[in-house]
Structures are given as C-alpha cells and as structure tokens.
C-alpha cells in the first residue's frame, strides 16, 4: 500500500465540496481510502484515527489531500483527480452568473431567494447587494456579526424582503423546502416561523404526519428574538403568514421576554402555538397556546384545527434488564434544537445532563465529558470547524455513538436521525457497529417521501437493536425512564 499527501496552502475550498471529492476519489480503482480536508487540528486527528500519517505543520489555512492506494501511480492519479475537482467543483453548471447579474435575472412575478452559505465574514456584502437587487435572503452561514445582521434585517424590512438567518437551516416557501427540509405530503396551509432549523423540521414532519400540511416555514435565525434584533423578521413573517395561513406555529429557544410579549401580542386571533424549547410552563392566551415541547404544540394544534382528533402518543417498549454498573446517559445529536429539547426534558425528570450547548448554563461542559451524563450538539462550532455539518457528514457523530456503545458504564445512548433534502444520503452509516450493552434510543425526523426513506432507515436501526421513536421528545422521555 502507498500513502501520499498533497497540501494546498492558502486556498479556500468549502468543506462540503472536499467531502464530496473524498468520496469520488475513493471510488477510483486501486484507492483504498482518501480524504480531502481543511487542515484543522481536529481534522488532522481525524485523519490519524482513520489510519493516515499526515505530515506535521499542516495549518488550518491549507487543504490536505490524503490518499492510500495500491501503487504510487494510483495515489498520484487520485491526487491529480482531486486537484481537478477542487478547481472545477462537483457540479458542472451550464451557466454561471455573478452578483452583478442578479437584477437582470429577477423578473416580474418572481419570488427570488438568494441562498448564501459562504463563510460568515463575507456574508454582509453579498447579502446587502442581494437586497439592493430586490431578492429575499436565506442565509445559511453562521458567524455573521450581530450588528451586520441587524443592518441587513432593517434594510430587508424597509424593502419588504425576507432576511432568513443568518444561521438559518430551513425554510419552506409555498411548499418547497430550501436548505435542510423534508418532503412533506399533506396538503394544508399551516405556517411556521422558527429560529431553529431542526426544530422547524421536527415540527413540520410531526404536523405533516398528523395530516396538517405546512405551506410556509420562515426561518429567522437564532438571534432574531434577541433584544438587539427585536424580532424584526419574526414580525415580518407573521404579517406575511397571517395573510396566507390558517394557523401559525412559532418555534424558538430562549426568546427575550419583551420581544416575546410583542410577538404574542401580534398573533391576534389566528389559531397558533408558541413553542419556546425548554420552557416548563404551558398556558393558553386567547387563540395562542404556549409550551416548551414540540409534541405538545403539535397536539394542541391538532385538537384546535381537527376538532375531535388527538395526536397519537408512541408507547414505550417493555424495558429489558440493564446491568447495575451501567449508569451514564450519553446523547449525541446532529440537531442543535433537538439536543436542547432533550436536555430540558431530562432536567425536568431530575437527570442533570451536561452539554456543550447547555439548556441551563451551569451544566456547560467542554470536550472532557467522559464521566458525566451528557447531551452533545455535534453540529456546534467546535465539532464542525473545517468539516461539513453532521447532518451532511454524520461519520464523526456516528463514531461517537459506536465508541460509547463499547463502554461498560454507559446505560443509555440517545441520538437523533434527520432525513430529508440536504441530509446525508445515509445518515446512519456506521451505526451497524454498535455493540450490545447500553440501550440505544433514536428518533427519526423524516417522512416516507424523503429520499432516505423513513421505513428503511427505521428497519435498519431496529435491526441493530436500536429503540426507535418518531418524535425526539418521546425518545428523550423514554431515555429518562431508563435512568431511574
């Protein structure tokens, strides 16, 4: 076997393209493994774990191509192919345009959306120009300074354009999903406004499963309900959806109290639910129901809209014997909001889990969490530096699940699986290596029409002994019941 490395200094290549190129190169004759990555310290460790021996001194400003193949000619050919794909990209666009072409490309009668996924430091100039051209924005990028977000949202609001994001994973416009979204099938006109991408997905899938179709989901980004932004886009989305939808569901995390009050006041008499993840009170105020759990919000909307109907609650399976020495709960999530919701549910049941993205700040934990109960958001910055988000490349998250299944002190492992547009073709790859011992509990956010197929993913998970739920909150409740 021959190993070869090629370092490209100072070139920006997006991490998703590098992942796609790695997979393409691995298909080449004689190549046993290949990896193209940004040279961050985490990625270099990952290469070493994969059996590579990368050279020292690779910086995070470089791209490293690592190939193992049958012969040195084959490694050379693979590296050459990788370099070619880095130059051309994976998709050969028939025509490419520049931002200056935008005004000419937008025609009368269009609803234009510019989807931005560049590094955050470059977003403002692009987004500002797009707004000047009359386009709405779906800003997938994170790390956009808050003052820039405010400027963009103020400008968008003045022009009557949406600025969805920054940090917006999901939007649905007239039934079509942009970013991470599911293939929904129920007809209907429910509108969602969300500052949480996976929260929007979970909510839309659970509504769809219960026959309540979602026509719009306006992602507003995680900062919109902060006092500094003042809910500018949430308010704009509300006016838009009230004209088009028969009911509205809002989903968020820790909204500023004064902004929340204003938003609740703006809802008026339209049937609505306000889901503030992790909140422990539930109450109704006029036509609005306030809760902290997605399932509860869904159940309430079903009761309100489909009178006489109730949402089905998934039963818990009978509990098997778990050895006394197994004490720890380990949660590894790709969806930040589902991680947050799980923590809140577990805390509510007296199980105080630590997290890198804690629902309660006193339970913040860094990377040293071997001996405590945890719910880790593997999509947070420290896990995705120089790598695609785990919804796109779930390898590292799934490896954490497999690794902890081998421990003799782990009682329960909790995870989420997200299907749909933008998610990995095989989001559960590698999980078949899970060892018997702890109870592994998974929720699947997805529909049968998603390309990954809900039923086939469920069958594969159950085939490896994993207990599967349709809802993330129910999975967390079951995990909690096993910790008693």
């Amino acid at each position: 076997m021959e190993e070869k490395y090629h370092i490209i200094e100072g070139k920006y290549v997006d991490s998703v393209l590098l992942m796609q190129i790695s997979r393409e190169i691995e298909k080449m004759k004689g190549v046993s493994k290949a990896s193209c990555m940004v040279g961050t310290a985490e990625n270099i460790s990952f290469l070493e774990m994969a059996g590579f021996h990368p050279p020292s001194g690779v910086s995070s400003n470089s791209v490293i191509i690592a190939v193992e193949a049958d012969s040195s000619q084959m490694t050379e050919a693979a590296i050459e192919k990788a370099l070619e794909l880095i130059d051309t990209g994976m998709i050969q666009h028939k025509t490419s345009y520049t931002l200056n072409d935008l005004p000419d490309l937008i025609e009368e009668g269009d609803f234009p959306v510019v989807f931005v996924s560049t590094p955050g430091e470059y977003v403002f100039n692009i987004a500002d120009k797009a707004l000047d051209s009359g386009a709405n924005l779906h800003i997938f990028s994170s790390n956009v300074p808050l003052e820039q977000e405010l400027k963009l949202k103020r400008k968008g609001a003045e022009k009557g354009l949406f600025v969805m994001g920054p940090d917006c994973g999901t939007s649905i416009i007239n039934g079509k999903g942009i970013g991470f979204a599911n293939a929904l099938t129920s007809p209907g006109d429910i509108g969602i406004i969300g500052s949480s991408g996976t929260g929007i997905q979970e909510l839309s899938v659970l509504l769809d499963r219960n026959g309540l179709g979602v026509s719009y989901a306006i992602g507003v980004g995680s900062n919109d309900l902060k006092q500094y932004i003042g809910g500018i886009m949430t308010k704009q989305a509300l006016s838009f959806l009230k004209e088009r939808c028969s009911a509205i569901a809002l989903i968020c995390k820790t909204p500023d109290p004064s902004v929340e009050k204003e938003i609740l006041g703006n809802l008026g008499d339209i049937p609505s639910v306000f889901i503030s993840l992790g909140r422990d009170q539930k109450y109704s105020s006029g036509s609005t129901y306030v809760t902290g759990v997605i399932d509860d919000g869904v159940s309430h909307l079903i009761k309100q809209i489909k009178r006489g109907h109730t949402a089905e609650q998934e039963p818990f399976p009978s509990t098997r014997f778990i050895e006394q020495e197994r004490k720890l709960l380990r949660g590894f999530f790709v969806g930040g909001s589902l991680c947050y919701q799980a923590q809140a549910i577990l805390h509510g049941k007296g199980i105080h889990v630590y997290s890198n993205s804690p629902a309660d700040k006193k339970y913040l934990v860094g990377k040293d969490f071997e001996n405590v109960d945890v719910c880790i958001d593997t999509g947070s910055e420290e896990y995705v530096s120089g790598r695609p988000h785990p919804m796109i490349d779930p390898e590292a998250r799934n490896a954490l699940v497999v690794k902890d299944s081998r421990r003799s002190d782990v009682r329960v492992i909790l995870l989420d699986v997200i299907l749909g547009y933008g998610s990995a073709e095989d989001p559960i790859a590698g999980l078949e290596q899970i060892q018997e011992g702890p109870v592994v509990v998974a929720s699947i956010c997805g529909t049968e029409s998603d390309s990954q197929g809900y039923a086939s993913i469920r069958k594969r998970l159950e085939g490896t002994g994993i207990v599967v739920f349709r809802s993330a909150s129910r999975a967390a409740e079951y995990a909690a019941s096993l910790m008693g």
């Binding site: 920006y12 997006d14 998703v16 393209l17 796609q20 990209g89 994976m90 998709i91 666009h93 025509t95 490419s96 345009y97 520049t98 931002l99 072409d101 935008l102 490309l105 937008i106 025609e107 009668g109 269009d110 609803f111 234009p112 959306v113 510019v114 989807f115 931005v116 996924s117 560049t118 590094p119 470059y122 692009i126 797009a130 386009a135 997938f140 990028s141 416009i173 007239n174 079509k176 999903g177 942009i178 970013g179 979204a181 209907g188 006109d189 026509s215 004209e243 088009r244 939808c245 028969s246 695609p388 796109i392 547009y421 933008g422």
Partner: protein, 56 residues
C-alpha cells in the same frame, strides 16, 4: 380557510456550497449558480507599500 395559492414563481440563486442545489432542483425549482470566491487578502505591509507607490 385562507387562500394557499401563490402566483409568484420561486427562483433560487445559490452562492456558496453547491450541496443544496440538487435538492432544490429535485423539487422542480429553478436554481441559478452565482460564482463566488473569497476576496484576496492583502497583507497590511504590502498594502501600505502599494499605497506609497500610488498603485493601489
């Protein structure tokens, strides 16, 4: 029940990773690719020399 009909045509312009292009196209939408690469970063010292040379 309010109207769900939208007469406007949803048109998506993609700037950045091409990962999400195909899923959008699969839903029958038009996606236009907008070329983008990060602006070249010029070292402050070099920039000041260029300014002095009047060639900025």
């Amino acid at each position: 029940m309010r109207s769900v009909v939208e007469s406007k045509k949803l048109k998506v312009f993609n700037i950045g990773t091409s990962w999400f292009v195909r899923p959008i196209e699969d839903q029958g939408l038009e996606v236009y690719n907008i070329d983008w690469s990060p602006p070249v970063k010029i070292d402050k010292d070099i920039l000041s020399i260029l300014k002095k040379l009047g060639r900025k």
